[in-house]
């Protein structure tokens, strides 16, 4: 029998050699716990993320945009399910994870606590929020835990459609009437900073980062991903003829990156801790859906049992 210390050494050697960890492999308890926390919160984010967009399904401006939005929201549900499925390979039950979301013990991405006020917000979410999510998720395709990495590969294949449809909405509005363009600018103004916050606190304030990098759960730091996202997005905003709401945004020739202004982390922590514009509304909607669906879940089980009993009797 190997000691815990030896097992941990072997485990780290596997990680260093880029060998993926699979569900039945030995892993340190803290690695398992970190993954359960991260994957389940990622899953919750996909599920809660359906709410701000679902808000516009009945009011989409055309049949074309309505079917697209429906497909996108359905994808988010699917992404939540891929992730719950990956989390369950670590020995947790779906019901317990959902319970943690509903009691507030588990968090979800703070971005979904902002409201979607106009149709342009649907464009901005696809372009910026999904754009930021993609940067993070492309990195996670190489995460050290096999089932998580595989779920991410699936998700990334589908996310590209999300970002493109968002940008298309922005493009239509930015090239539309002055009022439409103003609406697009207003959406950019409101979603820009929260999108940058999606990458999490700066590296020197991020409590989980160092260990996650060592275990290769994360492959890049929050600040690296944020910079990558900004560098990519500035050009896209320029093409739209819209202005990113940051007076400090400037190309830095020496760094070969854009410099940007300070992020309001106080706002970030306020929203994470339940004081964003829509926190209560989002959780209420999730709990309501879960509770009102309980009889359906019970009826389906009862029906399955009845069918099984009939089969056994026959």
């Amino acid at each position: 029998m190997l000691s815990n210390e030896e097992l941990e050494k072997e485990f780290q050697a596997k990680i260093d050699a880029e060998i993926k960890i699979e569900p039945k492999d030995w892993m340190p308890e803290a690695y398992r716990k970190t993954l359960i926390r991260q994957i389940s919160q990622h899953a919750h984010s996909e599920v809660v993320g359906m709410l701000p967009e679902g808000n516009w399904i009945t009011r989409a401006p055309s049949l074309r945009s309505k079917v697209i939005l429906l497909a996108k929201v359905q994808d988010e549900a699917g992404h939540g399910l891929y992730l719950y499925s990956a989390a369950e390979t670590l020995g947790v039950d779906r019901e317990d994870l959902i319970e943690e979301l509903h009691t507030g013990k588990a968090k979800y991405s703070s971005i979904f606590n902002y409201p979607t006020l106009t149709w342009a917000d649907i464009g901005a979410i696809g372009w910026l929020v999904d754009g930021a999510a993609i940067a993070n998720q492309v990195m996670l395709c190489r995460t050290s835990y096999g089932p998580y990495a595989r779920a991410m590969v699936r998700i990334c294949k589908e996310e590209s459609f999300h970002q493109r449809q968002g940008y298309e909405i922005m493009l239509k509005m930015a090239k539309g009437t002055p009022e439409q363009k103003q609406m697009a600018q207003d959406a950019l103004n409101r979603w820009w900073w929260p999108s940058l916050m999606m990458f999490g606190p700066p590296d020197d304030k991020s409590i989980h980062s160092a260990q996650s990098l060592k275990w290769k759960i994360k492959r890049q730091t929050n600040d690296e991903l944020r910079q990558e996202f900004i560098d990519k997005t500035v050009k896209q905003a320029e093409y739209l003829g819209l202005t990113i709401p940051d007076p400090h945004l400037k190309w830095n020739e020496e760094r070969q990156h854009y410099d940007f202004g300070p992020i309001n982390w106080e706002e970030f922590y306020q929203v994470i801790n339940g004081n964003g514009p829509c926190n209560r509304q989002r959780l209420k909607a999730r709990i309501k859906a879960h509770e009102e669906g309980a009889w359906v879940r019970e009826a389906a089980i009862a029906y399955a049992e009845k069918k099984q009993a009939k089969k056994t009797a026959a």
């Binding site: 699979e22 039945k24 492999d25 030995w26 497909a71 359905q74 994808d75 699917g78 399910l81 891929y82 499925s85 990956a86 369950e88 390979t89 039950d93 779906r94 019901e95 089932p147 595989r150 779920a151 699936r154 589908e158 879940r297 019970e298 389906a300 089980i301 029906y303 399955a304 069918k307 099984q308």
Partner: protein, 95 residues
């Protein structure tokens, strides 16, 4: 686990005829028929499959990774099972 929770099913999809069914993930469903229908919605939204297998996760029996060394040991020292073990003169050509 609450008795009223839907059990977990492992999902296998054949992406096109000629290829194997491949494990893609899992989902919860009350029975096998519902597992197939849910698998279509969760794993086949973009024509990813032409055939779906569903198996109760509790029915899967897996080998123990801790015993992998012993389990695969018999194959490890039989290099003569590989074609590269044999030297064939160049003049003979591809074989």
């Amino acid at each position: 686990m609450n008795k009223k929770d839907w059990p977990l099913w492992e999902i296998f999809i054949r992406s096109k005829n000629g290829l194997n069914h491949k494990h893609v993930g899992s989902l919860h469903a009350a029975d096998a028929q519902m597992a197939i229908e849910n698998a279509r919605d969760v794993y086949c939204r973009r024509n990813e499959g032409v055939s779906i297998w569903v198996v109760l996760s509790s029915q899967i029996v897996a080998s123990d990774p801790d015993e992998a060394d012993a389990l695969y040991e018999p194959a490890k020292n039989k290099i003569y099972r590989h074609p590269t073990f044999y030297e064939i003169p160049k003049e003979v050509g591809h074989m």
